[in-house]
């Protein structure tokens, strides 16, 4: 049964409405309590499904033009100064286009990251988080042959403090990729590798980036036509260490 002390706060946790301290406490609890972790996963799936399903209706181009015209016309002061509001409207319109474009890209990147966070959480909650179970990179890498339209290199982890647990095929927007699971101390790190497509490049223009999603630390980078995402609740330094080894292996 989910823990009665924590379960009522799961929705607030997933809606990022708890205080930073409570978020940390919930993170720690979810690592320990399989029942609450499973409940959190179920709620996260519903939240994500609602977000995707809710972005349903788009206005027609004709209606958009009508509203823009209506809004611009209200501020027109006098006919002889017609060019000023026209110019201002154009500037505002351009700014709006840029703002909407940025908003869209930010929203897209959040959507992609949320999808990956789902995969990470779902795998950790699963009794079989990986399909190939091996700490040997020479076993894990060949397992992906014929399953992915690309290949990648894995580093030797002997003596580094990191341990390869295994891997599985994951899908991001219907595109197959590799999901590799690593252990560092008591923490798990999921590393996702996908082909770097223009749609991903547009929302992650930076060659390398570090963000936080649902309190997970995420490091992302592009190399050799591939896009890597490392997800974990481990410290940013621990994630960075593994990412460095992966980058060196792929160099």
């Amino acid at each position: 049964m989910p823990d009665d002390r924590w379960q009522p706060k799961l929705d607030q946790y997933l809606d990022s409405e708890l205080s930073a301290e409570e978020m940390r406490q919930m993170d720690a609890h979810l690592r320990e309590c399989a029942s609450c972790a499973s409940d959190a996963l179920r709620r996260l799936q519903l939240k994500r499904a609602t977000r995707l399903a809710g972005q349903r209706y788009a206005p027609s181009a004709e209606f958009r033009r009508r509203i823009e015209k209506q809004v611009a016309a209200k501020g027109r002061p006098a006919r002889r100064w017609l060019w000023i509001p026209a110019l201002a409207s154009l500037v505002v319109l351009l700014a709006a286009v840029v703002t909407v474009g940025r908003w869209y890209e930010r929203s897209r990147s959040q959507q992609l990251l949320a999808e990956l966070a789902d995969l990470h959480v779902a795998d950790l909650a699963s009794p079989t988080p990986v399909d190939v179970v091996s700490s040997d990179r020479h076993t894990v890498k060949p397992w992906f042959q014929g399953k992915l339209p690309f290949t990648f290199d894995l580093p030797e982890l002997e003596g580094t403090g990191y341990k390869l647990v295994g891997g599985r095929v994951a899908y991001l927007e219907h595109e197959p990729g590799a999901e590799l699971l690593f252990d560092v101390g008591a923490h798990h790190i999921s590393v996702f590798i996908f082909r770097d497509r223009p749609e991903i490049e547009r929302v992650f223009p930076a060659h390398e980036s570090k963000v936080r999603v649902l309190s997970f630390h995420v490091e992302s980078w592009a190399a050799g036509g591939l896009r890597y995402f490392a997800f974990s609740d481990a410290s940013p330094e621990a994630i960075e260490g593994l990412c460095r080894l992966l980058k060196q292996a792929g160099a």
Partner: protein
């Protein structure tokens, strides 16, 4: 501030929200023409009342509130508000969440549900719940922003969200079961 400056400021704040306002309006009205009328009326009212908007406060919550209040006074909105779910009578009281049996195969149902099935379920959820789901999960508003938009206390937002998600899960589970037996 001159009328022209105010208009430029309004455009800068309001036009980027056009797509979101339209999506929200269409979900509320379930009709393209009514959604367009609702958004148009919202922009007219917002532009007219822009002088009363306090710079530095939340413009998004302000304009969504105008849209929602305009909807509630429309024919469709009045009809929808008469269809209030029975459970909503106590929605100022904090919801006691109840653990759902681990055996409930909801994770499987959700994983198998298509986007169309979730959309159909969302359509069937009462407007009172649909709006709070859209503001939280689609618009990604904070509880405070939702409270400002709906002009209700945060506790009410939380309890409505809880009931809305419960209603959506139940509707979706029903749809999935129907589809399996069809």
């Amino acid at each position: 501030m001159s009328a022209h400056d105010a208009s430029a400021g309004f455009e800068e704040l309001a036009l980027p929200l056009f797509d979101s306002l339209y999506n929200f309006a269409h979900w509320l009205t379930q009709n393209r023409d009514e959604a367009e009328d609702l958004v148009q009326e919202t922009y007219v009212k917002a532009l007219k009342g822009f002088g009363t908007f306090q710079p530095g406060t939340n413009f998004r919550a302000w304009i969504f509130r105008i849209l929602r209040n305009t909807f509630l006074t429309s024919r469709t909105g009045l009809a929808a508000s008469r269809t209030v779910p029975l459970e909503s009578n106590n929605d100022d009281e904090p919801e006691q969440t109840v653990a759902i049996s681990r055996e409930t195969p909801e994770s499987i149902l959700l994983a198998e549900a298509s986007q169309q099935q979730v959309q159909a379920a969302l359509e069937q959820v009462p407007v009172l719940y649909r709006e709070v789901l859209l503001l939280c999960d689609v618009e990604e508003m904070s509880y405070q922003e939702i409270a400002d938009t709906l002009t209700v206390p945060i506790g009410t937002v939380m309890s409505r969200l809880y009931r809305a998600r419960k209603a959506l899960r139940a509707t979706l589970a029903g749809k999935m079961t129907e589809a399996k037996h069809a």
